[in-house]
Symmetry: C2
Subunit: 159 residues, 2 copies
DNA sequence: TATTGTTATACTCTATAACTATA
DNA sequence: TATAGTTATAGAGTATAACAATA
């Protein structure tokens, strides 16, 4: 997989790049995001907005840049996303009293309910569906392997 | 990972979404592509152009749409990519004699050399570096798990 | 009528630079 | 001087519609 091609793959999977870990990761990431976006659609948010909401829920009110840096979104891109969340009535831009340059992004009651009741179910269902072909042990293994890869390559990454 | 958050993760990895397989896959895919793009840069091609070249090399001359469908690139996007490869002298647009609507994209001698001598090395080095934290057995496991996921979700995928 | 490649167009995502208000 | 948020802008990547040549 790393270098050469003489790999035995299922018939319909005998595409040229099916031995490439990069191609596989890219495909898998696209699939998960697509399915997650479809599942989130009825609730009026996108996967990235989900990331913002859950980040606030777990870490408390934070500035836009703090949130963006945790989930890999530029501060200029955060502006539009927070605009959208604010228009949806899910997030409020509250000025940080200690530093009035920044906001303390806060979840609305509707967002609290969404994050703690609805979204965990959507998240679980989507992941269960996507990971269906794997056993519980295999799922744990997969997460462990990818987490180690991402951690190891986090520094070097150009990104 | 599938649903709940009470996961034990390394300190610096205790980000809100580090238990989400979708977030991890997305991060990993970004890292690999970034590193691969950096490695390919000196050779004048991008990861997607690499995909086109290797597809022609393995399956022989094909139409732009045939190639695009195998690596997930729209036919309108293929036009620009092939333009670029043609300007670089790596690919030639030869009319298919049996169906003059389509081309039989062909590798130039320079591309043949690149694909068979240079790129396998670049590919191997990039993957070895990215997969460094995993043992050989773990690498095989990873590819197997992701391949099964991608295959299983290929049909349902909205894309 | 249908299909391949093409062009024009638009939409999303992202990033850079410059501005404002605060520090 | 530096930082958080904002705006304008531009660049990738992608997708839709319409067209010419060919089937």
């Amino acid at each position: 997989m790393t270098s050469e091609q003489a790999q035995v793959v299922p018939k319909n999977l005998a595409e040229p790049l099916w031995g490439s870990i990069g191609f596989l990761l890219s495909k898998a990431a696209d699939q998960v995001e697509s399915q997650f976006a479809t599942a989130l659609g009825p609730h009026g948010i996108t996967p990235r907005e989900y990331g913002i909401l859950t980040t606030i829920a777990r870490r408390g009110p934070q500035s836009q840049q703090q949130i963006g840096s945790q989930i890999g979104i530029d501060r200029t891109t955060m502006v539009n996303l927070v605009d959208s969340l604010e228009e949806s009535g899910l997030v409020e831009r509250v000025r940080d009293a200690k530093d009035r340059r920044r906001y303390a992004l806060t979840l609305s009651p509707a967002a609290e309910k969404l994050v703690h009741k609805t979204l965990p179910v959507v998240d679980a269902e989507t992941h269960d569906q996507y990971l269906a072909p794997l056993t519980a042990a295999e799922r744990d293994t997969l997460v462990d392997l990818i987490r180690r890869l991402v951690a190891h390559n986090a520094d070097n990454a150009a990104r």
